[in-house]
């Protein structure tokens, strides 16, 4: 205990954070230096022209997907908030759905020989799929909708707690007694206030859109080529021109993601400014519930169908167009996965758990041992923002470069580090929320009683926040368990998580095995969240 007390007196937290900050700044500085020192302006300008379609598609698709996700999330949130009995734990299971499986599911739904095409063929009677003639517009549309709907559960979960926090019910009553309609309450007051509080989750969504590799890569042949795919392509390539192209692409990605952030922020401000001066008097008492209800069921149905199709794919043998159900089943895919990857599966669970627990401990210790928590929060916020804003593939390329230049630690250590830093933002944001939600009265009263900080942490905060801790562990576990770019870029195949193997299998010919892998992938997170939801009926984030 004396040692711990000593820690409080020293500036321990600051030092640790300064080191972390330094490492991340080094990583970012390294990539900036590399890119700028190797950049050939002339080459960049020529390529910029070539890449213009790719850039504009990436930029607009991601922005529109984010906007769509926010709007749908608000409608669903509004519906669920007013619904009497609702368990948000259900949403968490949707959030824990792996991105890779989701993308595969989307392909198998929308392909010309996919599930919907088969349903159609059932009525139309064609036994050969139609000619695939999807243009840029329709494939962009599918990309946007699928990306948007993927992000909706996350936004809804946070959006619900925001609505509770801003006391939306009270705002609605207030607007009604001023003689305004329900629609007015929703659009002029609740939506702007909600949107303002959602800045951070929206930021997370935008940066995810710009750095996600799985969507642009797996949706690959059906969809436009995004910059992220091109970065990884050029990273692999032995072609000198392509390798040079990577520098331009990195600059473009960073610039366009910053531009997207600025655009979205401006749009948000304009929208809030516009809405608060509007009055929707003539719309009666329409409250948008039915719209929210429709979207809610669309989202759930989509996830359910994808889960259903993936599970069918994982056990089907010879499932050819136009049959709706596979004619024969076998467990060969699972058999293969279990006999080859069981050890990796469990070690990935182990590694992810250890890293999420360490990360949780790390942030808690930093907060608990500091004299001035406000500054620690600010520091952590800046670090989290740095990690989130630089797209993941670029960050990892930089870490890999740094690793090669420094040759200080083993590859495994860098691998764990690169996993760890992607857990920090999620852990921090959620932990901060639950610290904020904790009534300070309890801590004050324990302070007045002269109880030490550590005692008050173990005897008051820990028991009260235990469910929150469990939830944070669950979320960071699932984030960590689904990482796969680290295994490709940082360790170059030498080490990786189970998800890496699933990702590699999707590049092969056996969809059955790959789907079996992605079903197994879904298991641990789903199990953890089921346990959490049993303990914790009404989950807050």
């Amino acid at each position: 205990m004396n040692g711990l007390r000593h820690l409080i007196k020293s500036n321990f937290s600051y030092w640790i954070l300064l080191v972390l900050f330094g490492v991340i700044a080094l990583v970012i500085g390294n990539i900036c230096y590399q890119v700028i020192s190797k950049l050939d302006t002339n080459f960049f300008l020529i390529h910029f022209n070539d890449l213009l379609t790719s850039i504009s598609i990436t930029f607009f698709n991601n922005i529109i997907a984010t906007i769509l996700a926010v709007i749908i999330a608000f409608l669903i949130t509004n519906y669920l908030y007013n619904k009497k009995s609702f368990k948000s734990s259900f949403l968490i299971i949707l959030i824990s759905f792996p991105h890779i499986s989701y993308c595969i599911g989307i392909i198998y739904l929308f392909a010309t020989s996919g599930f919907f095409a088969r349903l159609f063929a059932l009525f139309y009677g064609n036994d050969i799929p139609f000619i695939s003639e999807r243009g840029d517009a329709s494939s962009s549309l599918i990309y946007i909708i699928s990306l948007a709907l993927r992000e909706v559960p996350f936004l809804v979960l946070i959006g619900l707690s925001v609505l509770k926090k801003i006391n939306a019910l009270q705002i609605q009553k207030q607007v009604l007694v001023l003689g305004h309609s329900n629609l007015s309450a929703l659009l002029c007051c609740i939506f702007p206030i909600w949107l303002k509080s959602m800045t951070l989750p929206i930021l997370i969504i935008v940066t995810f859109c710009f750095s996600n590799y799985e969507f642009s890569s797996i949706l690959g042949p059906q969809f436009p080529h995004m910059i992220n795919v091109k970065i990884i392509d050029s990273w692999y390539s032995t072609n000198f021109n392509l390798a040079r192209q990577m520098n331009s692409l990195i600059i473009i990605t960073i610039l366009s993601s910053i531009l997207a952030l600025i655009t979205l922020y401006t749009l948000m401000q304009i929208l809030i400014g516009y809405l608060k001066n509007q009055k929707f008097l003539g719309f009666g008492n329409y409250n948008l519930f039915s719209l929210g209800k429709i979207f809610y069921f669309i989202v759930i149905a989509l996830f359910m169908i994808i889960l259903f199709v993936t599970s069918l794919l994982s056990i089907s043998e010879s499932w050819f167009f136009p049959t709706i159900m596979p004619s024969s089943f076998s467990l060969r895919g699972f058999d293969y996965m279990v006999s080859n990857y069981l050890w990796l599966f469990f070690s990935s669970i182990f590694i992810s758990s250890i890293i999420s627990i360490l990360c949780l401990l790390f942030v808690v210790i930093l907060i608990e041992t500091s004299k001035d928590t406000k500054n620690i929060y600010k520091f952590l916020f800046v670090i989290s923002l740095m990690i989130l804003v630089i797209p993941q593939n670029i960050m990892l390329i930089s870490i890999a470069n740094l690793m090669e230049q420094l040759t200080l630690f083993s590859v495994s250590l860098w691998f764990y580090f690169s996993l760890f830093i992607y857990i920090v933002p999620y852990t921090y944001f959620m932990l901060k929320q639950s610290y904020d939600d904790l009534n300070p009265q309890y801590i004050h009263s324990s302070d007045i009683l002269g109880i030490t900080r550590f005692k008050s942490f173990f005897l008051i905060k820990l028991p009260m926040m235990f469910n929150d801790f469990l939830l944070i562990f669950g979320v960071s576990f699932s984030v960590c368990f689904y990482q796969f770019l680290q295994g490709i870029i940082v360790t170059k195949g030498e080490r990786g998580l189970f998800n890496n193997e699933v990702f590699i299998l999707f590049s092969g010919e056996s969809i059955q095995t790959a789907s079996a892998g992605s079903m197994m992938n879904f298991l641990p997170a789903a199990l953890i969240f089921m346990i959490i939801s049993l303990r914790y009926r009404y989950v807050r984030v």
Binding site: K173, H180, K279
Partner: protein, 204 residues
């Protein structure tokens, strides 16, 4: 004019209000008193049309001789200042006032600014809601109602969370302006000091 006929409110078989009837004429100010938990706020909310779960309601509410029981809150013409009234945090003071004005007209803003300066509150016009003090906050809540020009105004415990000095200033401000508003007003208070006029009291 607000008229309540044979109001009955139950909470899970417990009778809160039984057969209460009263009439408040235009430009009259009544005070509603009673023990805490007697159902004062519940009654006000019922008149507004905000029904709460686990309560059962009976009785008729008439505004200007017309029954409004079937109408939603915003169409009843009843306005209310809640115990913890909310000014919208994403708008500044003047925007909050503009939002409360029934119709969108060009000279709305001038009207609001004139009113604020008449009430000697013009220094607050462009202030952020979060920077207002408790007394200022309550006064702006009332100004918002004045500008809304209601027929019936219900006020729930307006001076509850204020210290004595601010309370007196706010109280004077409220009664002076409400009496000039020319509407049927019902103020809830559990504190006898706050009663506006001794002959206009409804007891629960």
């Amino acid at each position: 004019m607000l008229e309540c006929k044979n109001l009955n409110i139950y909470k899970e078989d417990i009778i809160l209000i039984e057969n209460k009837s009263f009439i408040i004429q235009k430009s009259e100010i009544y005070t509603l008193t009673g023990m805490s938990g007697a159902g004062k706020s519940t009654l006000l909310k019922y008149i507004c049309g905000i029904e709460q779960k686990s309560f059962t309601y009976k009785g008729e509410i008439l505004i200007n001789q017309q029954s409004v029981n079937h109408l939603p809150t915003n169409q009843r013409g009843v306005r209310m200042i809640f115990q913890n009234d909310l000014l919208f945090p994403h708008m500044n003071v003047i925007e909050n006032l503009l939002f409360a004005m029934p119709l969108k007209e060009k000279n709305n803003k001038e009207e609001a600014l004139t009113l604020l300066s008449q009430l000697q509150l013009d220094h607050l016009s462009y202030k952020n809601i979060n920077t207002l003090s408790g007394g200022e906050y309550s006064r702006i809540c009332l100004v918002r109602m004045i500008i809304n020009k209601p027929n019936v105004l219900l006020v729930d415990e307006p001076f509850n969370n204020l210290d004595k000095k601010t309370k007196n200033i706010t109280k004077d401000f409220f009664y002076k302006n409400i009496s000039e508003m020319n509407c049927a007003t019902l103020i809830v208070s559990h504190n006898l000091e706050d009663i506006y006029s001794n002959d206009k009291i409804i007891k629960l």
